[in-house]
């Protein structure tokens, strides 16, 4: 069970900022994205623009294997525009 956080455009598409999802402990970042899109299909349009932050470290969508712990924070990070 991980906390998924949505920001900026991803929060608008998903319609929420935060929820708990149940996902396998070992999962690639791409598979995790696909799990999230099952719940929020409107997110599919931004697939090529987002990365994750898992435990506050950036992770590209791809084959990287994530080892998730219960309660971990996973954030969907659209292209940033600070400063």
């Amino acid at each position: 069970q991980v906390s998924v956080l949505y920001f900026a455009r991803s929060a608008e598409l998903a319609g929420l900022r935060c929820e708990t999802l149940s996902v396998p402990r070992e999962i690639t970042s791409l598979q995790l994205w696909e799990e999230i899109v099952k719940v929020h299909p409107r997110l599919a349009v931004i697939r090529d623009q987002v990365v994750f932050a898992v435990r506050q470290e950036y992770v590209l969508l791809g084959d990287q294997l994530l080892l998730l712990q219960p309660g971990d924070e996973v954030a969907i990070i659209p292209p940033i525009s600070g400063g």
Binding site: F7, A75, S81
Partner: protein
């Protein structure tokens, strides 16, 4: 005070209230430093011919603070003579001409603080999870920094 008491400090703050240049520069002033360099990011009133009414910022606050502190650590590795660093970023609604971000760095001589300030703002734009929405008269747009390392600006 003795120089050994003037311990180098990082001042990182994300806040919704108006930013103050006086406040941020006073944070970094030091009797051992001859230079304080400042960057202020302000809100422009137009983008591609459209009138910008105001900006709205949001942040992944805990990670943004951590990433800004990483930038401060990098600055101190690259410019060891840097004394204090302050980065204040505003969140929420920012009206036109008001500051979205103020960065101040002090160092004994000017070269290091000038370079460090530039490094801070450039790296902030590339790596800190903060997002800006430009509000126009009829619509709005989530901006994307060209520095963002994963954004595909072709799309």
């Amino acid at each position: 005070m003795e120089e050994s008491e003037d311990v180098p400090k990082d001042f990182v703050k994300l806040k919704c209230e108006k930013l103050s240049v006086d406040e941020v520069s006073e944070l970094v002033v030091s009797p051992y430093c001859g230079a304080v360099s400042l960057f202020i990011g302000t809100t422009r009133n137009n983008f591609e011919g459209k009138k910008v009414i105001h900006l709205e910022y949001e942040a992944y606050t805990s990670m943004a603070e951590t990433e800004i502190k990483k930038i401060c650590r990098d600055v101190r590795q690259k410019w060891p003579s840097v004394k204090h660093i302050a980065v204040h970023h505003r969140l929420g609604v920012v009206p036109i001409t008001e500051a979205s971000v103020i960065i101040a760095v002090s160092s004994p001589h000017r070269a290091e603080s000038l370079e460090a300030v530039m490094y801070c703002i450039n790296t902030l734009k590339a790596s800190v999870p903060i997002w800006k929405k430009e509000i126009y008269e009829d619509e709005y747009s989530w901006k994307e920094n060209k520095e963002c390392f994963w954004a595909n600006s072709e799309k």
